[in-house]
């Protein structure tokens, strides 16, 4: 127990409170006043040398956390996939109305997104709100993002292999629509510009220039949205005016699959940037608290790079 001559009136709980904070890995936040200026917020300066969980593994059994979001995510994904399959069943065999499948898929997607949102909130945002220190290093998140990008190379890889397979054959396999339009040029410039803006946004964050950071991040978000708009416009032109569709031939398959997959990535990136932007507005970031800014911007650069590669091999390479 406490020494009786401590002199402090809150002596009964104070030591235990400190201990509790330490166990969270946020040992530096000792009192309420300190917390306001505490750099160890959501994306705290957790390097390899920051206080980790005590390396006493006996109590790791006890630190239970449970979550219902993984199950929700699984159910949602099952709904989405099952819905698509039922839609295809209805479209092909006519034994069920295809709309039933679409409905299930939509519901599944909503549940899936809710599950993912709940998980992200619980795993990342809630600790941030509670200003608990992050227990994992920034580096581990960045490396995990890199691992994800490796899987993505493989995801795109299969489609590129298809494209190279047909490209080395007789070319062009069918009359191609005009590929190299000003639209593609503008869109490419927009995406490259957005890579630049997100980079400097990150730099501004490092310089603790909040206004600049938010401004540039906002610009990136806008550029991403414009790019998606441009893609939609291009699809519209091709499908409605040129009659060039996914099913219209050897090139169409590759073209729409590749650009579609890439568009999906851009859309996800826009979502990610939007979340980061919103968190930036809430003041979640600082020069030392930039983990999610770093990971999202890494992803965004990757998506940009894939686009440049795509333009070179698919648009330019297809026209030549």
């Amino acid at each position: 127990m406490n020494a009786p001559f401590d002199g402090s009136d809150g002596r009964d709980d104070e030591p235990s409170e400190t201990a509790a904070t330490r166990a969270d890995g946020a040992g530096h936040a000792r009192d309420d006043q300190g917390e306001l200026t505490d750099p160890g917020g959501p994306d705290g300066p957790i390097g390899p040398d920051s206080p980790h969980e005590p390396s006493d593994h006996d109590d790791h059994d006890e630190h239970e956390h449970r979550s219902r979001w993984p199950l929700v995510t699984g159910v949602g994904a099952g709904g989405l996939y099952g819905g698509v399959a039922i839609y295809l069943l209805g479209a092909a065999a006519g034994v069920v109305p295809p709309r039933l499948g679409i409905g299930l898929a939509v519901v599944g997607t909503v549940v899936l997104l809710a599950g993912v949102a709940g998980w992200v909130d619980e795993a990342f945002l809630a600790p941030a709100r509670e200003r608990a220190g992050q227990t994992k290093s920034r580096e581990s998140y960045v490396s995990t993002t890199v691992l994800f990008l490796v899987t993505d190379v493989s995801t795109f890889g299969a489609l590129f292999v298809y494209y190279f397979f047909i490209r080395v054959g007789a070319w062009p396999p069918e009359t191609l629509p005009p590929l190299l339009t000003s639209l593609v040029l503008v869109n490419t410039l927009i995406l490259i510009a957005s890579s630049v803006t997100i980079h400097y946004a990150h730099e501004a964050l490092h310089d603790d220039n909040r206004r600049r950071f938010l401004g540039l991040l906002g610009a990136t978000l806008a550029l991403g949205v414009i790019f998606l708009g441009g893609q939609a416009l291009e699809y519209y032109e091709f499908i409605i005016h040129e009659g060039f569709t996914l099913g219209s031939g050897v090139f169409g398959s590759g073209f729409f699959a590749l650009t579609g997959l890439h568009g999906l990535h851009v859309a996800l990136g826009v979502g990610g940037i939007a979340v980061v932007f919103w968190r930036g507005l809430q003041g979640h970031y600082g020069p030392e608290r930039d983990t999610s800014v770093a990971t999202v911007s890494l992803y965004w650069h990757f998506v940009d790079l894939v686009w440049v590669f795509l333009v070179i091999v698919l648009y330019v390479g297809g026209t030549l």
Binding site: P48, E53, S55, H57, D58, H60, D61, H63, E64, H65, R66, S67, P70, L71, T73, G74, A77, G78, Y81, G82, V84, A85, L88, L89, A92, A93, V95, V96, G115, W119, E122, A123, K136, S137, E139, S140, S143, T144, L147, F148, V150, T151, D152, S154, T155, F156, G157, A158, L159, V161, Y162, F165, I166, P173, L246, G247, G249, S253, G254, A257
Partner: protein, 760 residues
């Protein structure tokens, strides 16, 4: 006999049997039993509230050990399902004609048997073991991303349901038809289990109308996402969640294999995912990915096997990890050549992406491409062989204890040798052209996918049973069960090899009556396997309630050989905490790991750098030694050329062998590369087995062995005296090579024993 009905009854039989055993075991436990005093679980019915709480508990858990158990349970269900498929396949083959079930049914069975086993059984069980034990072995609190971990698991059940909806729909339809008009159920009857082969080759898969194929493709895609998520999580866990005391040098072998496995999965599965969706688009939206005018059916095969061969190693490597982990514990010796087992695992990981076309030798791809894939496929056998030698040497002079895991380990080494060696033969194009379509291939891969993978799972289940349940399994039953399993596997799949030698084509529901007796033997063997699996279930369930309670955290007497690894240390702390059992023989408890690095953990670069440096050092020493040796050797060969006993043109043949144009210069380049890479590495690896340190003697011995291969490969048409001269020069050249290699390695100080070896 309705196939669906049989399948469901068998499934129900296994499930109900397990349940009854469970209930009986619980009920009997209520009686005062000799182990008395532990009436913790009193005999009473589960209330609804408790059941609800249990369901909530297990569906929301993010604890790595509980998720591990969920994975294992899921994998076991899939195994039973795929196993029933297998039993039915073998039953079908009892008669030469397709008179038990139809041909269509047979095709459905082997399609879904393969996919269920490969995708839904093996990886989930290994990921479950990894989930449970990796954090314990690494001293981590949990997996790196506990919730993501749970997400990965919860994607699997819907994936399995979608993939196997064909049979589920059929059964549901048939049962519902008893109460509602059949016309309402047409959508259930529209689905049939796919019969397109587990490789799903186009154009059959892209044109078959069965809508269940869409469900299957989507289900497999979902399971691929789950696998990728788990793989990412494992890598991050191993790299970032290790306890400070555990560096790369003393990372345990199971974690190493899970790390490499995850790295392979990371790149293989996303590609399969895209390929599956491309097939889906081809089927439903008129794309041309695998249509003849587009990428063609061959593109599917390339993409499929680019995933498929690495997948083979994804499921095989964790089994080798378990073997390397468990075997030493039962022979009382540390794993021999730990470092080289790690190297060979990494080598397999890299090479596994470069051999896929050996599955396509008979499809008329470019012969030069075929030849180079033949070379890589033969090369990939080397790291596997290194593992086998290390295991055998681990047992050598060991204190081999008779226990179920020992039987399983030794049995699988034997079965794997046969499976692996037949694989090497298949990698040789002319052999493959004959055997590709026969039971030989089925025998080859089953000797591995049955011979080592499930056997190691069983071994792990016995080895860790005390840790998982706090009780011991029934040892006599386990001994019997493992022997039965090994015998059943050998009987079944060696018989298939024999059928293959007789060139019986695979994947047919019917066969000429001459083969019947061999088929019957194989079927009997498979029933033996099935029986042993049932015995295992019984043992696991019954012992959970009635097994002898462990009174020490060291049931395998690991402390006496200094192999009391972290998961058991964890168990020891747990026993002390929960049951007040003090650590046994405390005077012998030692720190099992010396901290590899002190101070703060270095960056990623700093983490990888030491490993890379040792590898680079060894490779570098070998390469320099090889260069010296090869140059000396070239000088001797030059003399031979001048004398006229050696034909320079034979180098051109070497170039052709690896797929290059026939040119002496290129051939010499290949020769030099081989002399600097392959042989020195083999030398460094095999040198471990030679008595004493590496020295000129071992160099001479080694070069003599490889000279025999060279003499055959480079022989042109020398006869008589010329032949004698040729042989003498070949031997001389190799001795010079061996001396140069060994001398340089010795000079540069290669092959220092690393601390990791000393400790293991």
């Amino acid at each position: 006999m309705s196939r669906a009905l049989v399948q469901v009854s068998l499934f129900a039989f296994v499930a109900v049997g397990c349940l009854l055993t469970l209930l009986a075991a619980r009920r009997l436990r209520a009686d005062p039993s000799p182990d008395g005093g532990y009436g913790v679980i009193t005999e009473r019915e589960f209330t609804v509230g408790e059941a609800k709480a249990a369901i909530v508990h297990w569906t929301t858990t993010t604890n790595h050990r509980e998720i591990g158990l969920l994975y294992i349970a899921f994998g076991t269900v899939a195994a039973v399902w795929g196993g029933i498929d297998a039993m039915m396949l073998r039953t079908h083959l009892l008669t030469p004609a397709a008179d038990i079930w139809t041909e269509q049914t047979y095709n459905e069975l082997f399609t879904m048997h393969g996919l269920t086993m490969l995708i839904f059984f093996v990886a989930p069980v290994f990921f479950g073991l990894g989930n449970y034990f990796l954090p314990l072995l690494l001293g981590a609190d949990d997996m790196a991303f506990p919730r993501l971990n749970a997400v990965g698991f919860w994607l699997l059940p819907p994936a399995l349901l979608l993939s196997r909806l064909g049979i589920i729909a059929e059964v549901t339809g048939k049962s519902l038809a008893l109460v509602v008009p059949e016309s309402w159920l047409s959508f259930l009857f529209a689905l049939r289990e796919p019969a397109i082969g587990w490789t799903m080759y186009a154009p059959l898969s892209s044109t078959s109308p069965d809508p269940q194929i869409n469900f299957l493709l989507l289900g497999l895609h979902l399971s691929g996402i789950a696998t990728t998520i788990a793989a990412i999580n494992f890598i991050t866990t191993v790299v970032y969640e290790r306890d400070e005391a555990i560096g790369w040098a003393n990372l345990d072998i199971f974690s190493w294999t899970m790390l490499v496995t995850s790295a392979i999965a990371l790149f293989a599965f996303p590609l399969l995912g895209t390929a599956l969706l491309m097939l889906l688009l081809d089927r439903n939206f008129g794309t041309t990915f695998f249509a003849t005018e587009g990428g063609g059916p061959i593109l599917w095969q390339h993409l499929f096997w680019f995933w498929g061969h690495p997948e083979v190693y994804i499921i095989f490597l964790p089994a080798t990890g378990l073997m390397s982990l468990i075997l030493p514990k039962f022979v009382g010796r540390k794993l021999f050549g730990f470092k080289f087992i790690v190297y060979s695992t990494i080598a397999i990981g890299v090479l596994s992406f470069g051999v896929w076309a050996h599955h396509m030798f008979t499809t008329g791809i470019d012969p030069r491409i075929r030849a180079s894939f033949m070379a890589t496929s033969i090369a990939i056998a080397v790291p596997s062989a290194i593992k086998v030698f290390n295991w055998i040497t681990t047992m050598w002079n060991g204190n081999v204890k008779l226990a179920a895991p020992t039987i399983l380990c030794v049995g699988s080494i034997g079965l794997f040798i046969v499976g692996g060696v037949t694989g090497i033969f298949l990698a040789v194009i002319p052999v493959d052209i004959i055997y590709h379509g026969t039971y030989y291939v089925v025998g080859h891969f089953h000797l591995i996918v049955m011979g080592i993978i499930p056997l190691m799972m069983f071994a792990a289940s016995y080895y860790w049973y005390p840790l998982l349940t706090g009780r011991l399994y029934d040892r006599r039953l386990a001994l019997f069960q493992s022997s039965l399993l090994v015998a059943g596997s050998a009987l079944t799949f060696m018989t298939l090899m024999a059928l293959g030698f007789l060139e019986l084509p695979r994947r047919y529901a019917t066969y000429p009556a001459d083969f019947q007796w061999l088929q019957v033997v194989a079927t009997v063997g498979s029933y033996i396997i099935g029986l042993s699996v049932l015995l295992w279930f019984y043992n696991m369930i019954w012992s959970y309630f009635h097994g002898e309670r462990v009174e020490t955290a060291d049931p395998w007497d690991l402390k006496s050989t200094n192999q009391f690894t972290p998961e058991w240390q964890w168990f020891e702390r747990k026993l002390e905490r929960e049951r007040g059992i003090p650590p046994s023989e405390p005077e012998e408890v030692r720190r099992s790991y010396v901290p590899a690095q002190e101070g703060k953990p270095p960056s990623l670069y700093g983490r990888i750098e030491p490993v890379a440096r040792t590898v680079a050092n060894d490779a570098g020493t070998g390469a320099v030694g090889g260069l010296v040796g090869t140059l000396l050797m070239s000088a001797v060969l030059a003399v031979a050329v001048v004398i006229g006993v050696f034909d320079l043109e034979s180098f051109a043949g070497l170039a052709v062998l690896v797929g290059l144009p026939a040119s002496v210069t290129l051939g010499y380049g290949v020769f030099l590369a081989g002399g600097m890479l392959t042989w020195p590495l083999l030398f460094l690896a095999l040198g471990e087995y030679l008595p004493g340190e590496l020295s000129f003697v071992t160099g001479l011995w080694f070069s003599t062995v490889i000279a025999s291969g060279f003499a055959i490969a480079f022989h042109t048409d020398q006869i008589g005296l010329e032949l004698v001269g040729y042989l003498v020069f070949v031997l001389l050249a190799h001795w010079i090579y061996g001396l140069g290699l060994a001398g340089t390695v010795e000079y540069l100080g290669g092959r220092h024993r690393t601390p990791s070896e000393g400790r293991r």
